[in-house]
Symmetry: C2
Subunit: 692 residues, 2 copies
């Protein structure tokens, strides 16, 4: 990847004299800041803008580290072959007209893929906007040259954007007025070769990058992406396009990429501690906050102090703090005394800290006193401050920044007031490294993203050591079977793997049924297992609440009759459950084996949203997966029911994930329901699908 | 209210020569734009800034329509008495130091209240920022004078803000950089006399106001507020502070106002078609969109077309359209043909309409062609467009505005690009009346607010005609009782009022129990009714699943024993239900009798959020209340169960509300559960509390 980020010489293939052409803009942009050799390539010119122009990349005399290509799509494969021949290590293809344009374009893109595979040349794009390095002033792109006029802020947030033109607008937007300082902006387009993982890997080691934002429509290699995120010491924020059904459809027709199961992607991101963003500007705002406070907080607490000059804004802030899952701090005695010093006598000290009366009484210095007290308070983990920018003469940035540095805890601000005053204040705050936002909710959610950071890097590898192996017995059983396994066999395999299953017996006669029922204890459930028929309930093959031996015999005969004498009958202890869950394993095309957890029964009708994690799961992964399930109240023991044994449930999830990882023939596992009885989860019905 | 909005002469009590004092700023601000008589009042000066200064309002020679007071709180009551004596019809008190400051201040505020009651003088404030009328250039406030320098945009959104200092920052912020044109900004503070209803009523008739935004911490008179909203022909947007538990606590200590039950307020706003906002800037953005498109759409459909120059942004937009409850339009044949004309051949026409390839092929005019086609498409109800502002020379505002005017449907834009280009584009769009936003989600939610507008004004009165009366029998029964009524009596009253209740019999002996059970049909439920004991289940006084006459006798004796021989026994048909609901009536201090609806049983543990509506309920109100309940899937018939009879449930809700309205002695009604059996709701247990 060195050739893209640190080339000594650049060829611009498709360079042009016509200022309306992209090839002209690329050349102009490269010349603006790039200090190495620049070689325009265009068979129709001898010279462009004072530089000698070559008919082909093959004609360039010196070494070429990077070629930027912006010519009609049909000419691209030939030119790329030339680059390979010439020994150019990397090419950025900004032209469109490939997989995003139907069959012909897809064929062209395939050709590029083959060239890369054959020659080892690295290809970036096509259908992309290229690469901008603000620190080095490298603009390897046809669009964003004008950012330098538009007040770009150089900083430490780097950006990876999949979409082509969006990247242009987005990057220009971010650079010209988001108040977020940018390090590198990488538009990777159709990802024929270089993908988000290659770029991310580079950025993880880039000393000029503190936080990374990604807009992705697809994830090229889910597991590699997760591994990179796992070992990242830097905060990563992802905006994933195409989550709703209609959005996913649009993704298919746009970049010919698989949008992926929204739940799996969401689960994968949560699993590796990536923050999921919702909107473009919001992603950048979160990156900005995380770049300033990239360290996970030392405490596990999320106690926030709010400083405001308006009781009303304090109230709304308190609502938001609650909404984003933070809590209001109880101020320490020292802080209370300090605040009481500047407060009017009638006013009780509370959080949110409403300073208007204090400022009215003691002047604006009361704000500084309060700010310092809260930043120093050991019972306060983070501070959300409001600044009312009404008069241009007040610039607090330096004072606040110094206090924040000393405090070593996250402090984020909301600015409200006069446009001209605020713009100045925001710029000053950015220079001092204080994240401030113009919308209160945004400020609060950015604070939440900072405060809720998990410990990063390496941690997860040690976590994975506690993932247990699938016992040999289960693996051996799986090797002997294929197809949709019946309930009994599915559960025998799961039991061999370590999943607790309901007690049951397969019976072949009325007498056996009677004996089995008596042994299991009434009431029992009886089920008819008919080969290949998995919808037992719909077929009338499930009989609940059998309370006598006589009834057991009768039901045996009735079930056999319903199955026309084929199949067998299962007698099962009837579990009285306070909660129904569903556990499963699926294979995602981008992430491989994934574990699914959902609520079962009637609740499944309400909470269709199931949660996913990518296998294998560490114990911590499994517990976090459980914690991501909606309706935690149900798990904590409601109406006097015992709480769900989360460790036992975690073991089931880990086992199911491990089966997916170690037994590639298992296509799918569906345990529905897992019943929770007295807090203990047990698999009651299951279906394992094994590929032939 | 005339005196506040249209005074001929203004006295400024507390006017000062010292530029640091609020009284100086008020005078300066009034002089800036007010054309009538201006009378500074200050016993220490003879003249300020070229105007004669009077020692007291009593010394002013001519008539005084309005006094603006900014003096220490303790002096305010005396001065207000002087104003009343002088015949001044209205006073804006901007001083702080009243109910928000503890007991002494509260006493002072009470004194003001008495003066208003005794003399009829209208008092606005105290603890407020006053009133700004942008159209007339009236700045009756100590803070916002500088807005004229900061590029304020005069427009048709009016604003009512309860909080004092917040109003200052907020209004200045809005006026100086929100791109929202403001008509009037009213900061009403502690609302000792003039409240949001008074101001709202005035604004509803104000020809310069097209949409109204309110930030409220409390609602002074819920019913009047709702009536005003009901008859409003203008869209109203409310941001209510203090919804979370902690937020409400902050509200208590801040403006000494009751934050109110979040659910009740939310229900009341939804009931009268008010849009609930979430954040300050967001409220203004929604107001801006609604002011531009204040008419409810002619269709009931919510079909949105998206125009973009980026497939990626199109994908995210499609996600958002889904999220805000709109749908993507299927484009008409005519539109498809029109788009195909400018699309490259390989590209299929779809929605989102990705125009980058078309622009690449045919130049920027392709955008205009697509924009016009979508605006004219009869299968498209609203358009969300993206504009990428990359080059300063493109100004599309006039062309787009003309197309939008012709289309007569909501069209809202998202701007992304270079700061300087965008600022110009946003200003131009505002001038042309096109709502454009810088965040994509914001643009989408504003479009949803516009598209989902309900028919406004008068409609609701005719709706209320179908609210039915409480039958005389129920009212008569209620007059005879008091206290916490037992289950049986509660249900008899509800039944008399028209609520379907479960079949049951009160029995006094084992024989009667046996006979009742046989008559009702097995299985039955038996309950012990012990006077004053409402938690029957916890006391072991509920026996379910009684299937024989012998068991009925035995249970009768067992229950009597459990109640030590006192009380009575109820035999009830056991209802087999597919769904459990809770219906109730409570009295809210600000809104009066309210109807509550929630999910019961296990689901209540998950969905603690219950929904409210203010009684009486029209049939439409009741149906909308049902539609606001979480988990609509459960109501629509899940797993083959029949759908809930919404009309029958609506009748129960209307009846319960009517009981609250016509029987003021009924403090509370709790029907828990209402069981839904084969789609039909029936009250199974109930408790009515009647005040003595």
């Amino acid at each position: 990847m060195h050739c893209f980020f640190d080339p000594k010489s650049v060829a611009i293939i498709g360079a042009s004299r016509d200022p309306k052409r992209g090839g002209h803009r690329i050349l102009k942009n490269v010349k603006t800041g790039f200090q190495g050799g620049i070689y325009p390539v265009n068979p129709l010119c001898d010279e462009i803008d004072g530089l000698r122009c070559y008919p082909s990349v093959l004609d360039i005399p010196g070494p070429v580290d990077l070629a930027i290509v912006y010519i009609p799509a049909r000419l691209v494969p030939g030119v790329v072959r030339d680059c390979a021949k010439r020994g150019v290590p990397g090419v950025i293809i900004e032209s469109a007209g490939f997989a995003e344009t139907g069959a012909e374009g897809a064929a062209r893109q395939n050709e590029l893929k083959q060239i890369a595979a054959e020659t080892g040349i690295r290809l970036w794009g096509p259908n992309c906007m290229g690469l901008v390095d603000m620190v080095k002033r490298h603009v390897f792109s046809f669009v964003v040259g004008s950012i330098w006029d538009a007040g770009a802020l150089i900083g430490d947030v780097s950006l990876i954007v999949q979409s082509g033109f969006l990247a242009a607008g987005f990057v220009v937007d971010v650079m010209s007025h988001r108040g977020v300082g940018i390090s590198k902006a990488c538009s990777i387009g159709n990802k024929v070769d270089v993908d988000e993982c290659d770029v991310l890997e580079w950025l993880l080691d880039d000393p000029h990058t503190k936080a990374i934002g990604l807009y992705l429509e697809s994830v090229a290699n889910g597991r590699r992406f997760m591994d990179l995120c796992r070992r990242s010491g830097k905060p990563i924020v992802v905006l994933k396009g195409g989550k709703s059904a209609r959005g996913a459809e649009a993704a298919m027709s746009h970049t010919a990429s698989l949008a992926g199961h929204g739940g799996v992607v969401r689960g994968a991101l949560a699993q590796v501690g990536v923050v999921e963003a919702h909107d473009f500007a919001q992603m950048m705002d979160i990156c900005c906050a995380l770049a300033r406070f990239p360290e996970p907080p030392k405490t596990n607490r999320h106690r926030v102090a709010i400083i405001t000059a308006s009781g009303g804004a304090g109230i709304v802030s308190a609502d938001f703090v609650d909404e984003v899952g933070l809590e209001l701090a109880e101020l320490s005695e020292t802080t209370r005394k300090e605040l009481a010093r500047v407060y009017p006598e009638w006013m009780p000290v509370a959080n949110p800290v409403d300073l208007f009366p204090a400022i009215d009484l003691n002047g604006p210095d009361a704000y500084r006193v309060a700010f310092e007290a809260l930043c120093a308070d050991p019972d306060v983990d983070a501070v959300l401050f409001h600044l009312f920018g009404l008069r241009p003469e007040n610039d607090w940035s330096a004072v606040l920044a110094e206090t924040i540095r000393r405090a070593g805890k996250p402090v984020i601000g909301w600015l409200i007031g006069r446009r001209d005053v605020l713009e100045q204040a925001q710029r000053r705050a950015a220079e001092e490294g204080i994240p401030v936002f113009r919308e209160l909710y945004r400020a609060t959610e950015c604070l939440a993203a900072v405060v809720k950071q998990r410990a990063r890097g390496n941690g997860s590898e040690s976590e994975l050591r506690d993932a247990h192996e699938v016992p040999a017995a289960a693996a051996a059983m799986l090797e002997a079977v294929r197809g949709v396994l019946d309930e009994h066999l599915s559960k025998r395999i799961l039991a061999a793997a370590g999943v607790p299953v309901v007690e049951e017996k397969l019976v072949a006669s009325g007498d056996e049924a009677e004996a089995a029922a008596a042994e299991l204890g009434f009431p029992v459930v009886m089920k008819g297992l008919s080969p290949g028929k998995i919808h037992k309930t719909e077929l009338g093959l499930v009989r609940l609440g059998i309370t006598s031996q006589r009834d057991a015999t009768a039901q045996f005969h009735s079930l056999m009759e319903a199955m026309n004498g084929t199949g067998s009958v299962l007698v099962q202890r009837q579990v009285r459950a306070e909660l129904e869950l569903i556990v499963g394993m699926i294979r995602d095309p981008q992430f491989g084996p994934c574990v699914m957890l959902g609520l079962g029964g009637v609740l499944a009708e309400v909470f269709r949203e199931t949660v996913f994690a990518v296998a294998p799961l560490s114990r911590a992964d499994a517990l976090r997966l459980i914690a991501r399930l909606g309706a935690q109240r149900l798990l904590d023991g409601f109406r006097g029911a015992p709480a769900v044994d989360r460790d036992a449930l975690a073991r089931i999830l880990m086992t199911v994930g491990q089966l997916g990882c170690t037994c590639p023939s298992v296509r799918e596992i569906d345990i529905n329901p897992v019943l929770v009885s007295n807090g203990v989860p047990v698999a009651v019905d299951a279906s394992v699908i094994v590929d032939g």
